[in-house]
Symmetry: C2
Subunit: 154 residues, 2 copies
DNA sequence: ATGTCTGCAAAAAATTTGCAGTCCC
DNA sequence: GGGACTGCAAATTTTTTGCAGACAT
């Protein structure tokens, strides 16, 4: 249950962003809140979640309450959101690129049996632990995906 | 410097697969060694490496010594190799899906400054260390990518 | 000749680009 | 009205599918 790491705006931003606060939320991140962007953001930030570009397109266009948008706009907008730091792009596996509303440093546990994706605390990576690595390097990011199954291996 | 974990065939299979041994190598993994597959495998297993489908296509078709192949065949063949366990598909980042000749359990260190990809030993993940997780789950796979830079952050 | 398998052209899906129309000043 | 920006049609790129031909009985 992580917040968007936004200090002010405590009522509008909880685990997600309330509909009325979306415009301010976008504006605060230097994103002009156009109709299309608000529509996409409304669905994306409805709650803490991991969605594909396709799912977002579907949800936006099936919701009579928001403008409908083209696929290109969904891609361009999600990429803009990533650039502005309100979304994170995650390659859950080679066939599944998702956009994650949790932009804090964290990792994922993917349940292969039911498809659930669970966010977990970042692990501490010590380059010292990796043999033979150049110690002058500095870590700029760590992606960790743990695939699990419910039942025991047979 | 990891081998392909193949016991017999010690001369043909070192860190890579020698050209002459390719057909036997494919056959051993229940892959009929057709001209196209041999061409693709020759370039892929030339040495321990991480290549995109596109790079493989280019290399195969620029090599007068091997049959040229269509893009579809490259995709289908690489997928077949993954299914048969002689390649691993790695989502290095959302924009870069690579095929890795190292199929043993391992992780990656990606140097963002020079593009180098380095294989490292698998980390031991203890579900006990992850708070709030259902302990009846069992881990079926762990992907870890560490992004590093040469110089210190400014 | 018949059933299985291969390679690839064509189709489909995913992503990017270029530009017509808007929005500010 | 002019520079900057937006959304999307069209182009491009990536991936999948379907089927004509090859191959092994």
């Amino acid at each position: 249950m992580q917040s968007l790491n936004d200090q002010d705006e405590k009522s509008a931003v909880g685990t997600a962003v309330s509909c009325s606060g979306i415009e301010a939320f976008l504006a605060k991140h230097k994103i002009k809140p156009t109709r299309q962007r608000v529509a996409i953001a409304t669905h994306m930030f409805e709650k803490e979640q991991h969605l594909s570009a396709d799912t977002i397109l579907e949800r936006v266009n099936n919701d009579a309450g928001t403008t409908s948008v083209s696929k290109a706009t969904v891609y361009n907008t999600l990429k803009l959101f990533v650039k502005q730091g309100i979304l994170k792009e995650v390659a859950l596996d080679p066939q599944r690129i998702l956009f994650d509303t949790n932009v804090s440093d964290h990792h994922h546990v993917l349940n292969l049996d039911n498809g659930d994706i669970r966010d977990i605390e970042p692990v501490k990576i010590n380059l010292q632990d990796i043999e033979g690595i150049n110690q002058n390097l500095n870590v700029s990011g760590v992606d960790l995906i743990i695939r699990v199954r419910d039942s025991e291996p047979d």
